[in-house]
């Protein structure tokens, strides 16, 4: 036996202390989301109570100084921007990934992938800035004014494209080699293989990735704020300026008081609800899949 064991704290007690500390850390971390929801609720409850949720969708317009709190124009703005950008970014992103894996030579694919990673790291404010000084005047020259739904869609597309491409890239890499060899052995040409073998195999992973990016598109604030014009109206054409839910909060928070401020918190809750629904859908879809 080795000589006397002397610990300041016996190993089992030390372990207990350490585990207790770690539990504390984890409790903090886990509680943050709760805090967020609770504080949002606290700030919005008084208004919800005496204005009522219904009016947030049925008032004449969003005009806080006159006590009107209709969120619908902003909801439409968010929806249109999101749908437009996802519709464009998804095929482009997936095709980019297909390009990297199946069409480009390694010498081309590596720098291409590197470029996409680079772009995934550019902050939204820089994209928004570029949109403001380059894109908006360009659109304005075609069809005034410049700031518009179209600008928002383009910028949003550019922002979510890299991440979709990277996620698709990872998903395509996971397709088992046997599938590809089997297709080659059957004499299937490249696109047919991609369409009939690779896509079905990577389907749920791709889908999950797209849904997550849709959530990001909904939550994007700065870039949209900078290029969309921030007029409270339901956009009726691509060239109409509009405002999203997120931009709404960012613009008015600085000077909002009382009910107005609380109304902004309500819209924050609505945002959380939308994203929660999306994440729940992504979860539900990717559950119980044998592959992907």
């Amino acid at each position: 036996m080795t000589s006397s064991m002397s610990y300041p704290l016996s190993p089992s007690n030390r372990d207990k202390l350490v585990i207790g500390l770690l539990r504390l850390c984890a409790t903090f971390a886990g509680a943050i989301v709760l805090f967020i929801v609770v504080f949002l609720a606290i700030e919005s409850l008084p208004t919800l109570r005496h204005i009522g949720l219904f009016r947030f969708f049925t008032d004449a317009s969003w005009y806080p100084s006159q006590g009107l709190y209709n969120l619908t124009p902003m909801l439409w703005g968010t929806l249109f921007a999101m749908v437009g950008s996802v519709l464009i970014a998804t095929p482009l992103g997936i095709l980019s990934a297909v390009f990297c894996h199946y069409y480009a030579s390694p010498a081309v694919a590596r720098p291409y992938r590197w470029l996409i990673e680079l772009l995934a790291g550019i902050p939204s404010v820089v994209y928004g800035f570029w949109g403001l000084v380059v894109l908006v005047p360009l659109i304005g020259a075609i069809h005034p004014p410049g700031p518009s739904l179209l600008a928002g869609i383009v910028i949003l597309t550019i922002m979510i494209l890299p991440t979709i491409a990277l996620m698709a890239d990872a998903n395509l890499a996971n397709v088992p080699q046997q599938y590809l060899r089997g297709a080659a052995a059957l004499g299937l040409p490249r696109w047919a293989t991609i369409r009939r073998v690779v896509f079905p195999a990577a389907k749920s992973g791709l889908f999950t990735g797209v849904i997550l990016e849709t959530g990001r598109a909904i939550g994007e604030t700065m870039a949209i704020l900078m290029v969309c014009g921030n007029v409270v109206q339901t956009p009726h054409s691509l060239f109409d300026p509009m405002r999203t839910l997120t931009a709404n909060i960012a613009l008015e928070m600085a000077y909002a008081l009382g009910d107005h401020r609380a109304a902004l918190f309500v819209s924050g809750l609505v945002l959380m609800a939308m994203i929660a629904a999306l994440v729940g859908a992504a979860d539900w879809i990717s559950r119980g899949r044998i592959y992907g």
Binding site: M1, T2, S3, S4, M5, S6, Y7, P11, S12
Partner: protein, 279 residues
């Protein structure tokens, strides 16, 4: 029997004591009606046997009959395997191993374990050996150095590594790594050594060296060795126990001295297994 790597050295070196094979049975470990479950699945059921002090006992039988699980219950490694439940009684030198109030850390110092795949820590050779010593309270630098040299000589590694004690342990060959793991277990001066197929991941030459080492430890340590290799069991063990899967769980079929098991087995299953007709 000296390990084959000994060479004359400046410092006088005392070879390992070898006590005569201890066949006056004095049980050190007593297991009564031990059962182990992983979740709902039983690994083995109702095992009762005694292990004699200072002897080498081989646990034989085909894979999947709970031999390794049995080993892990002896030093309560089952505590950290998720979903594992153990029932029954184990006494090692009078200590009730499974009792909740037993000091597990003290237990694991007295019962050492070597795993199938050599797994030295990703540290230097020196640190691998120093680490457990320091953890168990030994602070004196000279004593530590002395112990390290002793144990490395015991496992036959001293001459091979004495010039590079600070190099990474993972840079050693498989056989050397396994011997280092044995040194690491031995440096705590345990009474019992649990060996889980220690040679199966090694090439034949390293395997032979490790086997010689195990034999040289007879008498000083009580050794349990799980092995698939019947010839190895026959070569080195004093006692043997045969495990088999019956009714969906591992069962202990027969125990006895190696001579009994291999030449005069009582159970027909044993006879079939040792003669190579089954398993």
């Amino acid at each position: 029997m000296k390990p084959s790597t000994s060479t004359p050295d400046t410092q006088p070196w005392v070879p390992l004591e070898k006590q005569p094979a201890c066949c006056a049975p004095s049980p050190l470990i007593e297991v009564k009606q031990l059962s182990l479950h992983y979740g709902q699945k039983p690994a083995f059921h109702d095992v009762t046997l005694s292990i004699n002090k200072g002897c080498i006992t081989a646990l034989v039988g085909p894979s999947g009959c709970g031999k390794t699980s049995f080993l892990t219950s002896l030093n309560r490694l089952t505590d950290i395997i998720p979903g594992c439940r153990v029932a029954g009684r184990i006494r090692i030198d009078g200590i009730d191993v499974l009792a909740p109030q037993t000091d597990v850390i003290r237990l694991r110092r007295r019962v050492g374990m070597i795993f199938q795949k050599p797994n030295p820590f990703p540290l230097s050779i020196l640190k691998n050996l120093e680490f457990p010593l320091r953890e168990h309270g030994l602070k004196d630098h000279n004593q530590i150095a002395a112990k390290i040299e002793t144990v490395l000589r015991d496992v036959g590694l001293w001459d091979e590594v004495k010039d590079r004690l600070s190099s990474p342990a993972l840079a050693l060959s498989g056989g050397q790594q396994q011997r280092l793991c044995m040194a690491r277990a031995l440096i705590l001066s345990p009474e019992v050594l649990l060996l889980d197929e220690p040679c199966s991941a090694l090439d034949p030459i390293s395997s032979g060296v490790v086997e010689d080492l195990i034999v040289s430890l007879r008498g000083r340590y009580t050794i349990l060795i799980v092995t698939h290799n019947l010839a190895q069991a026959r070569r080195i063990a004093d006692d043997a126990a045969l495990f088999w899967v019956q009714n969906g769980a591992g069962q202990l079929i027969e125990t006895g001295t190696v001579r009994q098991i291999f030449e005069a087995p009582r159970d027909p299953l044993t006879a079939a297994y040792v003669s190579g007709m089954r398993g």
